[in-house]
């Protein structure tokens, strides 16, 4: 069924982790159609660090669910890990989520009365990994998020920050290509939240997992390498997409190095892996500064990534056509 000629990408081209082309999602509520998403196109490459922002009801949660394979679009084409979700049955979607996506939620969503290591091992259960290997891999992952000493603690014996670290370990234990975080710091105080964010960024940098984060927090959003702003079910600004970023040309380089990012956000970065009790300076000033000038806190390397992302989007049309020809993608 597969045609090798079209399945093989040209040398040097990266297969996107997630590719959405003109994706829409319409809900039927009591016979009334509600358009939550109205034609969204975007590409997430491995290693990306994307913040998804927008007011409540803008469709960013709907988009998150679609990108994570929890839901499927009613229009357009969505390819996750090279597979067109519209061609997948629910069990195949589940396997796809298990293999390619890691979720981190605002409310942690840990199983109560279940130890940290068992919580982290849960995705491996559905992958058929043996109990001993599950525990080994989960313990190793907990070590990476700085909870190697808390393996057998239960969620109610841990602080919020620790619980979110467990959730992050659970999301990454399957070595996914994309980590979707829905307000990961929303239920945490600012110090703990900053530490969790640090951890996410560190893991993003170390393992090359793409980090896509829904957030209300301008300070958090400002730290992402790429920002996608949504309103009324459409992307109104994508710092990686020149077509949508009408209010902000991607070529503008503010020339502010990473070290100029205000201290409270930068400080935990140097002490990543430390517990939530890590002392940190007042964050109020930083929030004010980034809140006023969110676009100016972008780092130079972010723009270089933006440029690469832009290229990817520019190739989108051609790639889309290829995908459509692929029998496996549409069958």
């Amino acid at each position: 069924m597969t045609e090798p000629a079209v399945a093989d990408p040209p040398a040097g081209e990266r297969v996107p982790a997630i590719e959405a082309v003109d994706v829409s999602r319409t809900y039927q509520l009591d016979g009334v159609s509600v358009e939550a998403l109205r034609g969204v196109s975007l590409t997430v490459q491995s290693g990306d660090y994307v913040a998804l922002v927008g007011p409540s009801g803008s469709g960013k949660s709907t988009l998150m669910h679609l990108l994570g394979g929890l839901d499927r679009p009613t229009g357009g084409r969505l390819v996750i890990g090279g597979r067109d979700v519209n061609a997948l049955a629910p069990p195949e979607m589940a396997t796809l989520r298990n293999e390619t996506i890691g979720f981190v939620f605002q409310a942690f969503h840990l199983l109560p009365r279940t130890s940290a290591v068992e919580n982290v091992a849960l995705p491996l259960v559905y992958r058929g990994v043996s109990a001993r290997q599950r525990r080994e891999r989960a313990a190793a992952m907990l070590g990476r998020v700085g909870l190697g000493h808390r393996l057998d603690h239960r969620p109610n014996q841990m602080s919020g920050g620790e619980q979110q670290r467990v959730a992050i370990a659970r999301a990454l234990v399957t070595e996914p290509t994309v980590l979707l975080a829905d307000e990961p710091t929303g239920n945490l105080d600012s110090v703990t939240g900053a530490a969790v964010l640090e951890l996410l960024e560190q893991l993003n940098a170390e393992s090359g997992v793409a980090l896509v984060m829904v957030t209300h927090d301008q300070e958090v959003a400002a730290r992402a390498h790429r920002r996608i702003t949504m309103r009324d079910g459409v992307v109104v600004a994508d710092s990686a997409d020149p077509r949508s970023a009408h209010d902000r040309p991607p070529s503008v380089d503010h020339g502010r190095p990473a070290t100029l990012v205000p201290a409270p956000s930068a400080e935990p970065r140097s002490a990543s892996g430390s517990g939530p009790g890590h002392p940190s300076g007042g964050s109020g000033g930083a929030a004010g500064a980034t809140g006023r000038l969110p676009r100016e806190v972008e780092r130079p390397e972010a723009h270089s990534r933006d440029a690469a992302g832009g290229d990817a989007v520019a190739r989108e049309g051609a790639a889309g056509a290829r995908q459509a020809d692929r029998p496996g993608g549409t069958a």
């Binding site: 669910h65 929890l70 839901d71 629910p90 396997t95 989520r97 995705p123």
Partner: protein, 386 residues
């Protein structure tokens, strides 16, 4: 995993199981009582003696009115000629009568019999001797007491040689039967044997109620019965006679007790069904309560089937633990009933296997709907649930 979920809600799991426990326990107990009763009745019918043929006027059927017997001792002689061996033929003419000894009295059954009775039916004496041919031929007023009668009339004396008044006529006690115990709630030791001739004289009758024949072998028992019935029909053309074997009696009794056991088990089965509905109900509640957990499991890669199997396993675990507990409870109660009450109870392996199997099936049947509902939950909706 499923066990953890049950442990998390101990009280609720226990209450849900209670329905199954009670259902299974009552099935096990009632089947045990039914089986025990059947076994005991069979034992007693067998215990009457082997290869027994009972000849009575009328047709032996459940619910048939008894017929006044036209048989006399002349008919007994005729039957004896057919059988060819007087030692194999026993008779009875029975009636209720008050037995009196001094100031004590006891209402009992007086049976007029031949001296052949202990040989035909398997009876043995505790003291003294049984009736002899001479006692019968001379209508001698001698009596052999059942164990209960002997103890009622002579609680502190040796009854041998004492006088007993039966319906006002004095008889001399020559023997006491070894105790037999109860059978179907009837005290088999509550009887007095006297010579059939003396009994007929006592009641002013020539009648014989029934004839019992001990056949020489099991193979020809039916043929012998037919010959006896034919002879009696020749002598009494107006009356129908029946010759029944122990096997036939057992068959009739077994049918009755089988139906009874079935009805009891069915009633107990209804309570098991109600227990199953309880399981279904609690599993639906559990699915709703754990919607977020289901959403999360789906998000990390659980397929609909994985979730369904998880909940189905919980339901089956709930009912099988309940089933095992119910079995233990049922067996324990049955043993207590058997030991402490006159009701016999016997545990059979098939009733245990059935109870366990049914409780597992109940778990599957009543767990399927909640499990399917859990498996089909939309992960997006499930995760959003608070």
């Amino acid at each position: 995993m499923a066990l953890d979920a049950l442990r998390a809600n101990r009280l609720r799991s226990a209450l849900t199981m209670l329905g199954v426990i009670i259902g299974v326990a009552s099935v096990v107990l009632l089947v045990a009582i039914g089986t025990g009763t059947k076994q005991k009745v069979e034992q007693q019918v067998e215990g009457l003696g082997s290869n027994l043929l009972l000849v009575v006027p009328g047709r032996i059927e459940v619910g048939n009115a008894p017929v006044v017997s036209p048989l006399t001792l002349k008919d007994v002689d005729a039957v004896t000629r057919v059988v060819g061996d007087p030692d194999r033929v026993a008779v009875t003419v029975a009636s209720g009568a008050t037995a009196r000894a001094g100031a004590r009295s006891d209402f009992t059954t007086v049976q007029g019999v031949l001296e052949t009775t202990p040989a035909v039916f398997t009876r043995s004496l505790a003291r003294g001797r049984y009736l002899t041919g001479t006692d019968v031929d001379t209508s001698r007023r001698v009596a052999v007491l059942g164990d209960s009668v002997a103890r009622a009339l002579f609680p502190d004396r040796d009854p041998l040689g004492q006088q007993v008044a039966l319906a006002g006529v004095r008889f001399r006690v020559i023997g006491v039967f070894a105790p037999l115990g109860q059978s179907l709630g009837v005290d088999r030791d509550d009887e007095v044997h006297v010579p059939v001739t003396a009994a007929q004289r006592l009641w002013g009758t020539q009648r014989v109620d029934g004839i019992a024949v001990k056949a020489p072998d099991r193979e020809r028992i039916d043929e012998l019965g037919e010959r006896i019935v034919a002879e009696l029909n020749r002598r009494h053309p107006d009356t129908e006679f029946s010759a029944v074997t122990q096997q036939q009696i057992l068959g009739v009794l077994g049918d009755i007790l089988g139906v009874l056991t079935g009805v009891l088990a069915a009633i107990a089965g209804i309570s098991l069904l109600v227990g199953g509905v309880g399981v279904s109900n609690i599993m639906l509640v559990s699915v709703r309560e754990r919607t977020r957990e289901i959403g999360l499991r789906k998000a990390v890669g659980a397929r609909p089937r994985d979730i369904g199997v998880q909940f189905l396993l919980e339901a089956v675990l709930l009912t099988t633990i309940g089933g095992l507990t119910g079995m233990a409870l049922g067996v324990g109660t049955a043993l207590l009933v058997d030991a402490l009450s006159p009701i016999p109870a016997a545990i059979t392996w098939w009733s245990l296997a059935l109870a366990f199997g049914v409780s597992a099936v109940v778990g599957i049947v009543f767990g399927v709907v909640p499990a399917q509902r859990a498996g089909r939950l939309d992960p997006v909706v499930a995760l959003r649930t608070e």
